[in-house]
């Protein structure tokens, strides 16, 4: 996954590069707005991580020029200011998401992945821990073991895998797996999740219940 990182602070740029590389991303760095503008035209990345306060032209201007060219490359703005105007202005200019410094690393990685997914041709294989879910072939495995799933269980697991590491509410799951106003209760979601939990035993993932709210699927025992 090719990421363009535009950040003038050397320490932060270095830290971000190593962190993102450790996540298997290829990171290209621009130190100022003009350089970023040039790189965006020459070698469009999958996702751009863009600081607002840059020497030369600022992040807002970079996004404005990008969108003016009709380029839809996803942009994640990094801002040190959390003034309301900054947030609103960033999104109005055409950025896709923003994160206030200092951010939690998993949060940054999750948002970059979400933006990349939006832009990428739909990947058909979702993986976490030992789970492999091939949505194209509709085949699921835990390690070498085939996973037998009902249609609903499949849909719930697919949604959880798409949001791995993120807390999702039961209502979000209902909305995602029964999108046409089908009658699906929150209790039903609980039943599917408890069945999934049994079937995912030994899959190297933790499916945690957030009391009164929803679930969190993450890698690890």
């Amino acid at each position: 996954m090719h990421i363009l990182l535009v950040e003038d602070d050397a320490v932060l740029a270095d830290g971000l590069t190593r962190t993102l590389q450790a996540q298997g991303m290829q990171v290209e760095i621009a130190r100022d707005g003009l350089q970023a503008d040039a790189l965006l035209q020459r070698n469009p990345p999958m996702v751009t991580v863009l600081d607002i306060g840059l020497p030369g032209i600022d992040g807002f201007e970079v996004v404005r020029r990008l969108r003016a060219r009709g380029d839809a490359t996803p942009v994640l703005l990094l801002t040190a200011r959390d003034a309301v105007e900054d947030r609103v202005r960033g999104l109005e200019t055409g950025a896709d998401d923003y994160l206030v410094k200092p951010f939690a690393t998993p949060e940054l990685v999750a948002r970059i992945r979400a933006l990349a997914r939006r832009n990428a041709p739909k990947s058909t294989v979702l993986a976490l821990g030992n789970i492999l879910l091939d949505t194209g072939a509709r085949r699921a495995r835990v390690g070498e073991r085939a996973l037998e799933l009902s249609v609903r269980e499949w849909a719930v697991l697919e949604y959880l895998l798409q949001h791995a590491g993120r807390v999702v509410s039961k209502q979000q799951i209902v909305d995602a797996i029964a999108p046409w106003g089908e009658d699906l209760t929150l209790n039903a979601v609980e039943v599917y999740v408890s069945r999934l939990r049994l079937k995912l035993d030994g899959a190297g993932v933790a499916l945690r219940t957030i009391r009164g709210f929803g679930y969190l699927l993450e890698a690890g025992a």
């Binding site: 830290g15 309301v84 206030v100 410094k101 200092p102 690393t105 009391r211 709210f213 969190l216």
Partner: protein, 446 residues
Amino acid sequence: MSSIRLRLLKWLVGPILVFNLGAAALTYLLAWTPAQLAFDDGLRAAAGALAGRVRAEGLAPLNDGQALEDGVGEAGWAALHDAQGRLLAGSPDLAPPPAPPPAPNNGALRDARLHGEPVRIAVAALDWQGAPATITVARTVRARQGVRSAIVRSLVLLEGVFSLALVGLVWLSVGNGLAPLARLRARLDARGSADLAPLDDAGMPRELAPVVGAFNALLGRIDAGAQAQDAFRANVAHQLRTPLAGLRLQLEWLAARHTGDPDSTRSLGLMLQANERMIRQTNQLLSLERAEPNRFARARLQPLDLAALVAESIQHFVEQAAAKDIDLGFELAPAPLQGDRFLLRDLVDNLVDNALRYTPAGGRVTVACGGAAQGGSFLRVEDNGPGIPAHQRQQVFERFVRLDEKTVGSGLGLAIVRDIANLHGAELSLGEPGEGSGAVFTVVFP
């Protein structure tokens, strides 16, 4: 402290009373002197008349009580003395007139006492059997004293009423004149502690305008100073964020590389903790600034749902709770209200962060929201930690107050919560759960 009212009253009432006293004394003299003269004339005339009768009728009239009466009921005495002061006839109690004897009909008047009573004495000269003699007539002064008391009584009554009326009038006028000052003070009293807007000088008298002007100039300088201070604080906090973010990433990366080395892991863990503390403190300073009443823009209020706001921050809460193995749960029902999204998120963050921070590992924290029984919406954060003793519950909302020195905190979180609740007109209360130990923070929005 000196009082304008007292000064005015002292300088108005004092002179008024002195003048009234002077006027009363003058009135007394003007009324009393003619009366005295009239009585004296009567007495002198009586002495002259008696002298005439003695010349014509002999000594008989001296012993005639009737002749000595004056018609106003005064007792009288009369005596005839020769030039040597020897008593020739009449009352022996009357002393002879002092020598030389007065000229005829020029009887000098004097005061004396007779039979224990004050008397007025007149003397008339006459010829008695070829030798000069004097007739002395004495009369009591009861009638004139009656007249004098009547004058004094009326004067005292009149002047008393007059003085009281004047003092009352002065009191009212002074109060009326000082009313604009009282209004000014009421306007100042009615202000919030952070309201530095200039005073409205509409309706202020000309004399107060310079004071209001000077005061407004001072307010302006204070406001500019406060804003510069806010801006400086925000700027510093913002400037710190980028290096703190860089430091966090570098430390995390280093920690990931040294997982096998316990000493490095421990040391890096401590560095990360310190870094987190700095990040939190920086964010607190910024949210404190956002919660400043004079930065609060009513225009930014929008219809919101507390449940949705809590859901937005849930990822962060869950991670924080997982790190301490705290059972974090939610009871979120729709809780609509008008509010500032960013401030309310600060409020929720700080309440939950506070609960997670002060609840021991393995504890339980529950965040609830919904429609309040008395209308409006509520947010409740309940923990089963040690709780807060009743007598310290007001204190925790003060800035930089930390009840527990062992736990790392800025002492700003709950002050921020209080400020934001106040801005939204919400009731913030701190209690204890129905059973067991712990703290329950409840915010009820109107």
